[in-house]
């Protein structure tokens, strides 16, 4: 395929990605090195607000941005180098904590706290998703043909349900005296508060994520199982291979590309864990990198937002994912070269 045909085929797609992803990305990259702020001046101001029957008026000095002739806020943009990254990473504090060997202090610094949780979350759910997905796929494949359809249908439900709603429904089941917590309390005969300490919330979040993603893995693996070469399985039986050996030497290698595919998708998605934090309102105990970015970005009630730090934190998140993806991607490169 020559270049012009290729360009014609991929053109529309590339154009849309450039317009809506690449350009904003460039601006995010740029913003992480600049700070844009209004120029404030201090003025005396009298403000009257309602009390219950009368008004209370106060005069105070406030900072107020300067406006130009057209009534727009005057802003200035400054190159600040790596300062926004420093503000996110807080390297001095982190380094002091590490050199004191004081991990508790390190885990109260936002970025490192978020990184710790994000990595734990990603690396613990990954094997769980793969193993559960594989397990479900094999079990479906084992089941009688008549029930496969309904079982696949039920298995897919956690995957298709709107994530926000999935999180909320799990939240109701466990929060306060939610019925599953009540069940646990009755079973263990003790008072349980699952949202009262970090580790239970983390476990809940991971379980939710596995519940949500394992069906996707399962359905992909199930599709893969349909194309396992039956002849080689049968000859393995004749050679006296046990069930486990057949799984290990024939089925798993056959599914390997799919396992890598699922892992890649899962790495990307779980490194950006966010819905769980908001849905379980866990920010008092654990936060994630994407939540940190979001928190910098949401304006507070007075309209201030930390765009530069948000950009820096977004760039750092992206670098993190890129590093995690190097391993699975090396294989794609080989395939790509080998396939043609």
């Amino acid at each position: 395929m020559n270049f012009r045909t290729f360009a014609a085929f991929v053109g529309p797609s590339v154009f849309m990605m450039l317009l809506f992803i690449a350009f904003p990305l460039i601006s995010v990259f740029k913003q992480s090195f600049y700070v844009t702020q209004p120029i404030y001046e201090t003025v005396e101001k009298e403000t009257c607000t309602p009390g219950f029957l009368t008004q209370t008026c106060v005069t105070e000095t406030v900072s107020q941005p300067r406006l130009d002739e057209e009534g727009k806020v005057i802003t200035q943009t400054q190159y600040v180098g790596w300062e926004s990254y420093r503000n996110v990473l807080e390297p001095e504090r982190a380094w002091r904590a590490i050199s004191d060997g004081n991990w508790n202090v390190l885990s109260t610094i936002n970025f490192w706290k978020a990184l710790r949780f994000t990595l734990t979350f990603t690396l613990i759910t990954l094997p769980l998703v793969i193993v559960c997905g594989l397990g479900i796929a094999v079990m479906i494949n084992n089941a009688a043909h008549a029930i496969r359809g309904p079982v696949i249908f039920i298995s897919l439900l956690p995957f298709i349900i709107t994530p926000v709603i999935g999180v909320l429904s799990v939240n109701w089941l466990f929060r306060g005296d939610g019925i599953l917590t009540a069940l646990l309390e009755w079973w263990l005969n003790r008072d349980i508060a699952l949202f009262a300490q970090a580790w239970t919330i983390e476990v809940l979040m991971m379980l939710y994520r596995v519940w949500h993603v394992a069906p996707f893995a399962a359905i992909v693996f199930y599709a893969g199982l349909q194309t396992v070469n039956q002849d080689s399985l049968e000859s393995a039986v004749i050679d006296g291979a046990t069930r486990w050996q057949r799984m290990k030497y024939i089925v798993i290698p056959h599914l390997m590309p799919l396992i890598i595919f699922v892992s890649m998708i899962h790495l990307m998605d779980s490194y950006r864990v966010f819905e769980e934090i908001v849905g379980f309102a866990s920010q008092g105990y654990v936060i994630s990198l994407q939540w940190l970015t979001y928190d910098f970005l949401v304006p507070d009630q007075a309209g201030n937002r930390s765009i530069s730090r948000a950009s820096a934190s977004a760039m750092l998140t992206m670098i993190g994912i890129a590093i995690l993806l190097i391993f699975p991607l090396r294989r794609t490169w080989r395939d790509h070269k080998g396939g043609h």
Binding site: T5, I154, I165, A223, Q230
Partner: protein, 384 residues
């Protein structure tokens, strides 16, 4: 596994099936539970005793309930509908619809089934039961508290149908545009061995890895002021992109492109290149080859990829909540708004009813396309 040599011992099959049953329970339970909650009065819905939630004593004492007979007949009608749709309808559709227009037959068939079900379930059945219940004594007495008032609140008082319509517009727009742009790109990438193609894929992958909240926030000011900065190009007619469904569709398509082109590329790679090469020998150019040879065989992969696009658009909250205003808001942000609003417990149950309402179309979709998803994946739409 059909072969005799591969047959498994009973114990293994039993364990496997027990685990499978357990998984199904885990998979369905939260969804089942919010469905139950949505039919109860607020006091029952948030009760900490599971039995109270299921049987709804408060709901019952408010005069909303079902008798044993209601339940039996209701289940019978639901079961009958499912049986009709799954057993009879495929055959009928094959019999009555013309070759190549089967999808149209399905649409008509499912619409007819849905309307028929609604009429029977909500009009004919209550009328019959109103007569029968008082005649049957204990069988006709209400035993299960259940109320549909929250659904009435959501769909009628809160105007949720407007959100439904908006979701429909955004979602179908995203699916159609995403697939048409994506199939072309996927095909191009699959048939080109150049380094450029590889790096495009890698860049796309990095794009997919981006934290979306960072991108989305930078759209808002640009979208709101678009009539000002577009004016030099488009003059008077320059649109304000904020609040326009088409702008949101474009954004969602772009965000979804990386995944779409990766999926479709792997799928096209599994279609033998000899097919279109043969067509090109016959004098077709690449586009003609694509249209004549590839298009007829690409549907399983396209349907699977389309389903993922559908899920992304339908479930999106980040883009839609920020870039649409209330008049064209889609369902998910509307529901989250309901939850976050300063709410009473009643409002919470209403929001739960809304949450169940938006899950229903997803369930229908999976029911219809389930087989295509599996066959699409089997055909290699996913391959590293």
């Amino acid at each position: 596994m059909s072969s005799r040599a591969l047959r498994q011992p009973l114990s293994l099959r039993l364990t496997s099936n027990i685990f499978l049953a357990f998984w199904c329970l885990v998979a369905i339970f939260p969804i089942f539970w919010i469905t139950v909650m949505s039919f109860k009065s607020p006091v029952d819905a948030f009760d900490s005793n599971a039995l109270n939630v299921i049987f709804g004593p408060t709901t019952l004492s408010n005069g909303n309930g079902l008798s044993l007979l209601d339940i039996i007949l209701g289940i019978a009608v639901i079961w009958g509908t499912i049986a009709l749709v799954f057993k009879k309808m495929p055959a009928m559709i094959r019999a009555y619809s013309r070759e190549g227009l089967e999808w149209f037959g399905w649409v008509i068939g499912i619409l007819a089934a849905a309307v028929g079900f609604l009429v029977v379930f909500f009009v004919i059945l209550p009328a019959i039961l109103n007569v029968l219940n008082p005649l049957l004594g204990p069988l006709g007495r209400d035993i299960l508290g259940l109320t549909t008032e929250h659904y009435k609140t959501v769909w009628i008082d809160r105007g949720f149908s407007n959100n439904f319509k908006n979701s429909l517009i955004v979602t179908s727009g995203v699916v159609i545009l995403s697939l048409s742009v994506g199939t072309l790109a996927g095909y191009g990438l699959a048939r080109s061995g150049s380094n450029l193609a590889f790096w495009l894929l890698i860049v796309a992958l990095i794009f997919r890895a981006l934290p979306p909240s960072a991108l989305v926030a930078s759209y808002l000011p640009v979208f709101i002021s678009s009539s000002e900065w577009l004016a030099p190009i488009l003059g008077e007619n320059a649109p304000t992109l904020y609040g326009k469904p088409f702008a949101v569709i474009a954004v969602l398509v772009a965000i979804n492109q990386p995944f779409t082109i990766w999926m479709l590329r792997s799928f096209f790679q599994n279609i033998p290149a000899e097919l279109d090469e043969a067509a090109r020998v016959d004098g077709c150019n690449h586009f003609q080859a694509f249209r004549r040879v590839i298009m007829p065989v690409m549907w399983p992969g396209v349907i699977t990829t389309g389903l993922f696009s559908f899920l992304l658009a339908y479930n999106d909250i980040l883009v839609t909540s920020l870039l649409l205003d209330a008049q064209n808001q889609t369902m998910v942000p509307a529901i989250v708004g309901m939850f976050n609003r300063e709410t009473t417990t009643t409002d919470q149950v209403v929001a739960v009813a809304a949450a169940v309402s938006i899950t229903a179309p997803l369930i229908f979709l999976v029911l219809i396309f389930q087989r295509q998803i599996v066959s699409g994946l089997t055909a290699g739409a996913v391959k590293g």
